[in-house]
Structures are given as structure tokens and as C-alpha cells.
Symmetry: C2
């Protein structure tokens, strides 16, 4: 892997044979300087993607649920030599990436929960009953490949490549936020078969939700109440309180602090937040992005060292960004990273209390989670 | 197994050696008529249970999270001959049940997330910060053994025994609701290793929550809004709409209807609700309990037949009851039964969108779930 040009990324947009967008984020000098090109044609002649879903309103909870029946046929743990996210190698069947190599690449998901097409015929309610509003699942689901190297992981990349990933996240956040109908953009990574990852190639996902997800709705409700009572921004005040009391701090940089939340609900959970008010990743300046590329790697490596004898702790890592429209000022960028592993070989399952009632029971004490994160630093 | 006396159950309360309560619900004639007795002493001289947890308020979501660190040592899939929920057999080590046999038995959980003792020293906030209220996790967690037969399951019992289970649920709901500090009583069953069941003996759990869980808080918010707008009870109006449009009905009895909710979020999900307004299981009359014992069995057996080649579909089944105090009139009894199995051998994992954002994506269409449930009837 050649050394990427510092902080400079070349962005190239292309189309796959079924019309989906693919965007290369190149940091290797030969691409950045234009000596090499990504523009191989996609030779697969794919049919138009099925696409889309129907959103149904769950009147008992106030949540929108996406019904996306076509996704049940999606690719499930293919062998490495059939990985759809590897570059297209000479003499091999074409993959999703019509290029001999790439640095970081983003493409529209072939089995999207939300897409920009389809669903024109969806009536406004289920069975004509006002209790059950529904609409087309307009939005966008993208896949981001962190590297062309199938056998590695985000935590094992160099900071410069992570910096390119951050550039791609920021770019997608900005573009998807500008797309009509986007309510919130979510950049996240599911890592590990224990949480249902169906492709091993190091990759994450980016969703442009057409509605505010339940966690965001709850956060905005809490933040509005906090502002009404104190005049402050809830997420900023939480960060400042954590930095003041220091009992759950994992590390502090110049621009970022990692801490375990006071009411952590997962056996391993850590949040990472910028010191300055930033609505989303696109608002981060160069200094913040630079430091983040090192600190995020640091955090991921602590996650991998968290349990003795566990080489790759399964995790879910997601960037909570401010909503795009109304109440944007109540949001504030923060990462939530957590694992379902509660001990080597033992998963925290979401059983009756969590899945049925939404009442979390955590066997781990937040202050001890933070101590362990500091210990493995 | 001897035939239980129809609808008549004898209730016997005893104590385990560490002070925990154990309550026998007997339906076999020799016990009901007093010819045999349960009163063997618990010979284990157990230490006082560790007990309790700390409730922390997650200010970002408005949820209470129970931090229960002592539970990490709980019994994990013991071999059948060490099952703590089997009766105490002659010549074997004493189990949790100091009786040679039993019909249905309820006992306080040895590793409870909520208990009536402990936590006196818990300060009112975490680190003295008002953003993070906390309190002692007062409440109660009970285990209910559906049968003394280790190798069977609730779906394979006779209706008369299920009727005894219903009597026990109703009894516990009534008693726990009367306990000071109880906000809501939840009777539920987790079935299958796929969802983290740690003991194979057929059993369920009963929680007396000291707070309103997130799903109930959301439901009450929605029900209050619905009442304000229409004057009606939300859960009753949903049931009536399902019975009117009929597209997702699984079956209808004289007193109960089973239907798949319009915005089902799980690959297999069904609700079961009484036709008359009932706040909780304790309010059911004899006719409703009788029919339920047959219809609940019917439903469980359909779940087991749902996937071809899957003998015992993992499931979570929970009775949502009206809250004990304020807003009780907004609630209405209903069962929510769901499975994480989306195909034979394939689990629906709660990954980034569900676990991180609370945005559910269901690959199954509610109307097709209902059709399948009807087909396997």
C-alpha cells in the first residue's frame, strides 16, 4: 500500500451497470495525481435494483418500521474469492467494484432498506385505516469499503487511510443531507459475525433515513426539555460534566474526549465527542479530522484488546449526527461504540426485558468499563 | 402427570434457606386435596442473596438502565442432571425447588436484576451531577417453572396445566402490583439458546419493574395522544381495526383475537388481545382464562410449526399489562410474541440501525406473516 498524500483526497464518481453510484476516495499518489484511473466499465449488465421499502408507522410506539422484503435474498457470508467488495481482479468474475484496486470506495447498496426509486404506488395508510400511516421508504443506503485488502480491518489501517475514511464520511454526510427527504444521516460499522455481519470485507454503511429514528426522537425530546429547563445544549452539558467529574473518561485529546456514559446499557460502551459544537462530520475542520484519525484508531485498538483471548471484539460503532431539518440545533455530533460481548465467548442477548420492554439490564458497571478502557490503552 | 383438577389451584407459600419466597401452584388432585405436601425444608443453607441493582437515568434517551454487576456470575447452561429448576430428587444435590415434585412453581430469582433489599446507600445522582439521577433497583424478579418435567416445553403441556400457569401469572400480577414501588408487572418467556436462554428447564420470568420501561412509556405517550384526539383507547381501537379489516388476523375466539400488527418489526410477530377491556391478567374472568389456556397453546404450536425443518422456533413472549399507578386507564392487556429467526438457521441480528438508532428494518411483510400463521394452524 503506497503512502497516501497527507489530507488530500481525490473524489471520482462513476456508475455501476444498474445505475447505482460508486464514488472513489483516493489517497494514493498515482491516483491523486491522475497517473492512474479508476474508470473501468462495470461489465455485469445487472438488472435494475429491486430497491425500496415501505415505511409503516407503529402506532403503539411512535416508531417508523421499514418493511423491506426483497432484502431476504441478500448475499450471505460468501467465500473470500467471491467477495463482492474486493476489487475486480484480472481473470476473476467482476465484483461490485469495477476497478483493479482502490483506497476507499463508497457505493449504493445493492439490497437497500431505503432507496430513491420505487414505492410510487404506496397508499397513505395500511388498509385505509388512519391508525396506520405508511409511505414509500425513500432514502439511501450506501456501503463504504475502508480498504481493498479483504483480510484486514479498520483498526489495523494507518491513520492516513482512516483520515480518508473520515473524508468519505464527511462527504457523504454533506451530500446525503442535501438530498430532498433526508431526515438524518448515519455512518456506522457492524463488525463481527456475532452481530450478524454478512460480509467479512472491512466495510461500513451509511444510511440516509427518511424519518427520525427512535433514538434520535428520544434524544431530541430530552434535549428540548433540557434546553427549556436550563438553556443549555444537552450533549454539550453531558460532555462537560464527564470532563469535570472524570470518573468515566477514557482519554482526552486536544479536540476530542472519549468517555463511558453514566448509564451505559451495553457491557462495553464508549462515546467519543468533539470539544467544539459540531452538528455532524462535515462540520469538522482539518485539525479535528487529523486528531480523529489517530484517536478513533486508538479507540478501536482498545476495543480489540478489551477481552483477553479475544482477538477481534465484535462491535457496533455509529456516528450520531444532528438531524438535517427541524431541531438541528438540539443535536451534536457524537460516536457511540458498543459491544454485545459481555465476557469471552459470552454474548449479551437482548431477551424479554430489553427486546420486549425496552428495559436494559447491564451486568457491567460504567466506571469499571472506563477503567478497563484506560488499562488497555 | 396426573390430571389437574379443572380450574382449581392450591397455592402454598414457603421460604428458601436464604429467605427467598417460593410459591407452589398445584393442580394435581393429591396436592389440591391435601393428601400430599410440598413442605420439604431447603437444606442448602444458602448465603443471603447479593441482590439488587442501581438504576441510572440515561439522560440522552429518558430510559432507566439497571446496573446489576452481580448477575455476571449467574448459572449458565448447566447439564440436565444439575438443573436448578428440577425438583429435588432423592440422593441428588438439592435444587432450587425443595420438593420431590411440583406442578407449577414460582420463586424469587437468585440473581435478580431488581430486589426488595440492598441499595440503601445509593446517592440520588451519579457523581453528584443532576444530569444523572440514580436510585436503588428495588423491585422483584421471579422465575416461574411451567412443569417439573425438564425435557418438555410450554407448548407441549395440556391446556389444564397452561390454565394453572395462567392462574400463577394472574396471582403474581395481583400480588406484585400491590407491592409498594411497583410500576409495572411483566410476565414473559424467553425460549431458545438463540436468544440467550441460560437454563433449558421450561420456565418463564416475572418482573416487577420499579419504573416504566421504555416500551410502556412510548405506548402511554401514544395512547394519551390518541385519547386526546379521538377520545378512544388506543389498544382497543387497534384491536377493533384489525378485526374489521381482517388482513392480519391469525385466529379469533369468543374472548380473544390473535393478529400480526400492521407495523410488525420482527420476522415473526403476533399479538393476542382480549375482546373486553382488561388491564391485566388478574382481571381476566374464568371464561377468558379457560379459552386462553387453549388459544395460547394453539399459538405456541403454530410458532413451532412456522419454519419447516425447525423443531423449536426460538421466541420471546411477553404480556404487556397496564401500569400499576398513573395512566393505568391508558393501558390494556396484550401479548406480544416474536422470534428473531428470519429463516431456518438465520437470525435477525439487531445491528447498527436497530441497536444504534432504534430504526427497525423488517424483511418480512406483516400480511405474509399472518398468512403463514393461518397456514400452520
Amino acid at each position: 500500500m503506497s503512502g497516501p498524500a497527507c489530507g488530500f483526497v481525490r473524489r471520482t464518481v462513476d456508475r455501476l451497470s444498474d445505475g447505482r453510484e460508486i464514488i472513489y476516495f483516493d489517497d494514493s499518489p498515482e491516483y491523486v495525481e491522475g497517473r492512474a484511473s479508476r474508470s473501468l466499465p462495470d461489465q455485469r449488465a445487472l438488472p435494475r435494483a429491486a430497491g425500496g421499502s415501505t415505511l409503516r408507522y407503529d402506532v403503539l410506539t411512535g416508531d417508523w418500521v421499514a418493511i423491506a422484503s426483497h432484502r431476504n435474498t441478500r448475499t450471505f457470508l460468501p467465500p473470500a474469492d467471491l467477495c463482492p467488495l474486493c476489487p475486480t481482479r484480472a481473470g476473476r468474475a467482476p465484483t461490485e467494484i469495477p476497478a483493479r484496486d482502490y483506497d476507499v470506495v463508497v457505493l449504493e447498496n445493492r439490497f437497500p432498506a431505503f432507496s430513491r426509486t420505487g414505492g410510487e404506488q404506496v397508499p397513505g395508510t395500511v388498509d385505509g385505516v388512519d391508525l396506520w400511516p405508511q409511505s414509500a421508504g425513500r432514502g439511501r443506503c450506501e456501503v463504504i469499503c475502508f480498504t481493498s485488502d479483504h483480510g484486514t480491518g479498520l483498526s489495523r489501517l494507518e491513520p492516513a487511510r482512516v483520515r480518508t475514511v473520515i473524508e468519505a464520511w464527511a462527504d457523504r454526510t454533506e451530500h446525503l443531507s442535501a438530498q430532498p427527504g433526508t431526515a438524518q444521516v448515519f455512518c456506522f460499522e457492524n463488525r463481527g459475525q456475532e452481530i450478524g455481519v454478512t460480509l467479512h470485507h472491512p466495510h461500513g454503511q451509511i444510511y440516509a433515513y427518511p424519518f427520525l429514528p427512535a433514538r434520535t426522537t428520544a434524544l431530541l425530546r430530552q434535549a428540548a426539555e433540557h434546553r427549556r429547563r436550563t438553556g443549555g445544549n444537552l450533549l454539550r452539558d453531558v460532555l462537560e460534566a464527564e470532563r469535570r467529574v472524570r470518573t468515566r473518561i477514557v482519554f482526552e485529546g486536544e479536540h476530542w474526549t472519549a468517555y463511558v456514559p453514566a448509564a451505559a446499557r451495553w457491557p462495553v460502551e464508549v462515546h467519543l465527542a468533539p470539544h467544539r459544537d459540531r452538528a455532524d462530520l462535515a462540520e469538522l475542520d482539518d485539525a479535528e479530522r487529523d486528531e480523529l484519525s489517530h484517536l478513533y484508531l486508538d479507540l478501536l485498538r482498545r476495543v480489540d484488546r478489551y477481552y483477553e483471548g479475544v482477538e477481534a471484539t465484535p462491535y457496533i460503532s455509529g456516528w450520531h449526527q444532528a438531524p438535517v431539518g427541524r431541531d438541528r440545533e438540539l443535536g451534536r455530533l457524537h460516536l457511540q461504540l458498543f459491544s454485545v460481548l459481555r465476557a469471552p465467548g459470552r454474548i449479551k442477548y437482548l431477551a424479554g426485558s430489553e427486546s420486549g420492554m425496552g428495559a436494559w439490564i447491564n451486568d457491567a458497571v460504567p466506571e469499571l468499563i472506563a477503567a478497563r478502557f484506560r488499562e488497555v490503552g
